[in-house]
C-alpha cells in the first residue's frame, strides 16, 4: 500500500518559538562576521597612516555608526549568552556519580566573559 510522504515546509522555523530563536542564534554569526570584516577595515586604515585613521575615528562618531554598533552588539551578546548556555552540553564533567551542574559551567564562562571584557577595556583605554 502506498505510503504518503508529507512535505516539510521551508518555513518550519517560523512555526515554533524555540525553532525561531534557534534561527536567530544562527543568524548572529552573520553580524559577528560582519563586525570582524569591519575590524579588518579598521586595521587597514590604521596601516594607512594617521589621516586615514583619524578619518575613521570621525566616521565612528556618526549616528549611523552608533546605530550599527548597537544592532551588532545585541546580536553578539545573544550569541555569547546562547553559547555559554550550550557549553555544558558539550562537556559533561563528572565527579564519581555526580555530574557537575550545568549552571556552574555556564556561570564560569559568563564570569570569564565579564572579567576578560573588563580587563580588555581597561588595557585599551588606560594602559
Amino acid at each position: 500500500m502506498k505510503s504518503y510522504v508529507r512535505r516539510y515546509p521551508n518555513t518550519w522555523w517560523l512555526n515554533k518559538s524555540s525553532y525561531f530563536f534557534f534561527m536567530v542564534r544562527e543568524f548572529t554569526s552573520i553580524f559577528v562576521a560582519g563586525y570582524c570584516v569591519f575590524l579588518v577595515y579598521f586595521i587597514y586604515k590604521l596601516s594607512q597612516g594617521p589621516d586615514a585613521y583619524y578619518a575613521l575615528i570621525e566616521a565612528l562618531k556618526s549616528p549611523l555608526s552608533i546605530a550599527l554598533h548597537v544592532i551588532v552588539f545585541i546580536f553578539a551578546v545573544y550569541h555569547s549568552i546562547t553559547w555559554f548556555k550550550l557549553t555544558p552540553k558539550i562537556m559533561i564533567l563528572r565527579i564519581g556519580e555526580e555530574q557537575i551542574p550545568s549552571f556552574l559551567i555556564s556561570g564560569a564562562n559568563f564570569f570569564a566573559w565579564v572579567v576578560v571584557s573588563a580587563i580588555l577595556a581597561w588595557i585599551i583605554s588606560v594602559v
Binding site: E26, I43, V72, W113
Partner: protein
Amino acid sequence: MGGRVRYPGLDNLGGIRMSKSNEPIWWSLFAAGGVVSAIFIPIFIVITGLILPSSLTGEEAFAFERIHEAAAHPIVRLLVFCLIVFPLFTFAHRFRSILADVGLMKIRPVISVFCYGFAIFGTIITAVVLWNLS
C-alpha cells in the same frame, strides 16, 4: 603497531557509511570561532562603538601613535588575527546550515564551497592586512 583489532562476528563494518567525514576540521574552526567571538567580540564592539568615538577615556588613549604601536606588536597581531579569522569560520559553518535548512539541502556541497571559501579568503585578506601593519 599495525593491524586492526578484531571483533568476533563483526567483520562487515557496516558497509553503507564507510566515507570518513572531514567535518571535524570545520567543526573545530567553528567551535574556536564561537568561543573567541562569545568572549571577545562584545567588548570590542563597545570599544569601537562607544569608548573610542566618545573619547570617554580622553583623547590620548586613542592617539594614532599609541594604537599603531600596540597593534603592530607581533603578539597583538597574532591575537587580532585569531579574533578576526575564527569567527569567520563560525559564520561559514552556521550560514551553510541556515541555507541547507531553508530548502537548499540538496546543493549543500556547493554552498559549503562558497561559505568556507569566503572564510578562507577572509583569512588571507586578514593576514595580508596585518602583515602590512608596521
